[in-house]
């Protein structure tokens, strides 16, 4: 078997995604790998269970890396992924990523008449960040810096539930990959939801 030469975004994102092949509390509605027929947001109808298209990204349209939802918590997480935390902090990148979350939150909120999304249009939309680390996890201070930066970018956007920012770290160490989820709450009353998200994610 071959070894990872370099932990990149594709591997960091994939290691997280495959958790939801067995964890059915959360479902992935959209993923953005390097290529392939994955340019549509899909979900199963809450009424019939039949899966179908919710939204189709057009060519060149900015898209997030993962959109996932939990029907029990009535929550959607829209995730931006990069191979390192530092890259998520790059100013222009962060601005673009936050704008994508806001745009998608608006789109999903307007899909009440879509056969497959109906009933989810009022879910809370939380901003998520996923990064890769090699050998050592990021410090709490660095993670806080990241969360605060993105919180500032979305805190005035009503369509985003900005009281919580979710973080996912894919750590590559001793040949193994391990994902851990975190959150930061900006409002005491949101801590309970934050805890439930983390508990159900992993």
């Amino acid at each position: 078997m071959r070894n990872i030469n370099r932990l990149n975004e594709e591997i960091a994102r994939w290691a997280f995604e495959i958790i939801y092949k067995t964890n059915t509390l959360w479902r992935i509605a959209f993923t953005n790998p390097t290529a392939g027929p994955w340019k549509t947001i899909k979900s199963p109808s809450k009424i019939t269970g039949q899966e179908g298209e919710v939204y189709r990204f057009i060519l060149e349209e900015d898209r997030p890396d993962i959109i996932m939802y939990n029907d029990e918590l009535e929550t959607v997480i829209i995730i931006e992924a990069k191979d390192s935390l530092e890259k998520l902090l790059e100013r222009e990148q962060a601005r673009k990523s936050a704008a994508v979350v806001v745009k998608l939150a608006n789109i999903l909120g307007s899909k009440g008449s879509n056969t497959f999304w109906r009933g989810r249009e009022n879910y809370k939309v939380v901003l998520g960040l996923l990064w890769g680390s090699t050998d050592y996890p990021e410090s709490q201070a660095e993670k806080n810096r990241l969360y605060n930066h993105y919180h500032n970018l979305v805190k005035d956007e009503d369509v985003v539930f900005s009281s919580i920012i979710v973080g996912v770290e894919t750590l590559y160490s001793s040949g193994e990959l391990h994902c851990t989820a975190f959150y930061k709450s900006y409002n005491e009353s949101s801590s309970s939801l934050g805890n439930q998200i983390i508990k159900t994610l992993m």
């Binding site: 078997m1 071959r2 070894n3 990872i4 030469n5 370099r6 932990l7 990149n8 594709e10 591997i11 994939w14 290691a15 495959i18 993923t31 790998p33 390097t34 290529a35 392939g36 027929p37 994955w38 340019k39 057009i58 060519l59 040949g175 193994e176 990959l177 391990h178």
Partner: protein, 496 residues
């Protein structure tokens, strides 16, 4: 126990391939189960009659893995297919696949053709899985381009290796992977290869009928679509015959007969002007340029003089670009030109924004002639035009016999770096193959870049810049003609 590595651009594509092979296998008595090695590497166990016969392991994101097999490294230097199946024990690539969800409009389908060429060159069975119908941004439905299919047939005949284009979707289910025959044919073929591999047979054993079926679909597609793209197609009658598809399949398996060889000399061979139907040739006339260019004007003149012909009288123009972008790109080209070594006779960079016409809404045209393909009967005629437009090249371009037919490709692109990237490398690979680079009566290939400077190919240090584009152009072109009339032979590492 055998093991096949599935290398892929992304894990999703590798898993998509394995899942579909397993689906196909379920009809052949195989059973598949899957798990993740190290918790994330997709891994499939395939059993038959309770005995484990094969493992498939997916390595997503090519460059993330160590060591990358040299055979894969070499293949992807010609363009990276989405999926490559590799037998590590025999150090052999079993097949390569390019699949795309991109709408097949504009150059989308063409821009992946360098991968097709790279695989055929290495004699690797290759499938290009592309949507036949796609929804354009304007909301209309478009049908795929014919050139990837034509290039694949020609590469099959030339390299004697399967090279195929399969379509998915239909007019009512635009961009649906599961509509049409493509997906079924693709995975019937790939699972046949894997089945043969498991059984220790030649990987293409018992494939003739399956390949003939696919070539028949390709020929039918070309037959039904060419009139929407070009004014005429050579050997039109042959495209409609079942025997043609069977003969191409025999070439793919190196089982061609002497009669098949005769067919190869006729099928999809673009003729000299004397072989073009007279009513088509009569209608072809040189047209005014959008943006003036001395050589492009002479190329258009030569159409009227029947020295060359074009593909269609209805070629469209490129999309105009904003003034700011054009100005920036001209400055970048000027800076690149300034790194040039001293040439004899000197070449002078004079490109300026005033040379480019403005549209009604203030954007700028970069299109010179609308045609980007010219098929000349004789190199001497094209050389005369080049020397008239660029006198500094007089008596310099002597590597091609005067009587040799030529295919000239034009790219009006101005953005620096674009000429060695998408879609131009794919387009040139497909067109060179289609228009005779490897035909029995072969054509020389010239690429003309009126708005690009030569230092992007050939630096001041006298070294060729090595990338996918220059690798392909070195193999496929005889000369590249750049802005200011600088010519480059990548093959001979010469600048004129």
């Amino acid at each position: 126990m055998k093991e096949v590595e599935i290398w892929a651009d992304s894990f999703h594509e590798g898993v998509w391939c394995c899942d579909n092979i397993c689906n196909s296998f379920s009809n052949n008595g195989y059973k598949c189960s899957s798990d993740f090695l190290n918790g994330f590497i997709p891994h499939y166990n395939i059993t038959k009659n309770g005995v484990k016969v094969l493992e498939l392991i997916v390595y997503g994101s090519y460059k993330s893995w160590n060591p990358m097999p040299l055979k894969i490294k070499e293949l992807i230097s010609w363009g990276k297919p989405d999926i490559v199946a590799y037998d590590a024990i025999e150090d052999k690539i079993l097949f390569a696949v390019e699949e795309t969800a991109a709408t097949p409009t504009g150059n989308q389908a063409m821009q992946r053709c360098e991968r097709q060429y790279g695989s055929a060159r290495h004699r690797i069975p290759y499938w290009y899985f592309v949507s036949e119908y796609g929804e354009h941004v304007d909301g209309g439905v478009r049908r795929d381009n014919i050139w990837p299919s034509i290039a694949a047939i020609k590469l099959t005949l030339i390299k004697k290796t399967p090279c195929l284009v399969l379509h998915y979707s239909d007019i009512d289910n635009v961009e649906d992977y599961n509509s049409g025959n493509g997906l079924g044919l693709l995975f019937s073929s790939l699972s046949r290869i894997i089945d043969n591999y498991i059984c220790g047979k030649s990987i293409l054993d018992q494939s003739e009928e399956l390949l003939a079926k696919q070539y028949k679909e390709m020929l039918q597609f070309i037959s039904s679509q060419w009139q929407n793209v070009i004014d005429f197609i050579p050997s039109e009658g042959l495209l409609r015959q079942d025997e043609t598809a069977k003969a191409i399949a025999r070439f793919a398996l190196e089982k061609e007969t002497p009669k098949d060889e005769q067919l190869k000399a006729k099928v999809l061979v673009w003729p000299l002007t004397t072989g073009v139907p007279s009513h088509v040739l009569r209608q072809q006339r040189g047209r005014d340029l959008i943006k003036y260019d001395a050589l492009a004007a002479l190329l258009e003149r030569d159409i009227s003089l029947n020295k060359c012909y074009i593909l269609s009288n209805n070629a469209g123009s490129g999309k105009p670009t904003t003034r700011g972008k054009i100005a920036g790109w001209i400055n970048e080209q000027a800076a690149l030109f300034a790194t040039s070594a001293q040439l004899k006779p000197p070449a002078v960079f004079t490109m300026k924004i005033e040379d480019f016409p403005e549209t009604d809404n203030g954007n700028i045209h970069v299109t010179t002639s609308k045609n980007i393909v010219y098929l000349y009967d004789r190199w001497s005629d094209l050389k005369e035009a080049i020397e008239k437009a660029y006198p500094r090249l007089r008596n310099k371009l002597n590597n091609i016999p005067d009587e040799k037919p030529v295919f000239l490709y034009v790219s009006n692109s101005l953005k620096p770096g674009r000429l060695f990237g998408d879609p131009f490398t794919g387009q040139l690979s497909a067109y060179s193959t289609c228009f005779g680079k490897f035909d029995t009566r072969d054509r020389a290939v010239i690429a003309y870049f009126p708005h690009q400077v030569y230092t992007q190919a050939f630096g001041r240090n006298g070294q060729i810049a090595r990338n996918k584009g220059t690798t392909l152009y070195t193999e496929l072109t005889d000369y590249l003609i750049f802005n200011a009339g600088v010519a480059v032979s990548l093959k001979n590492e010469e600048v004129f």
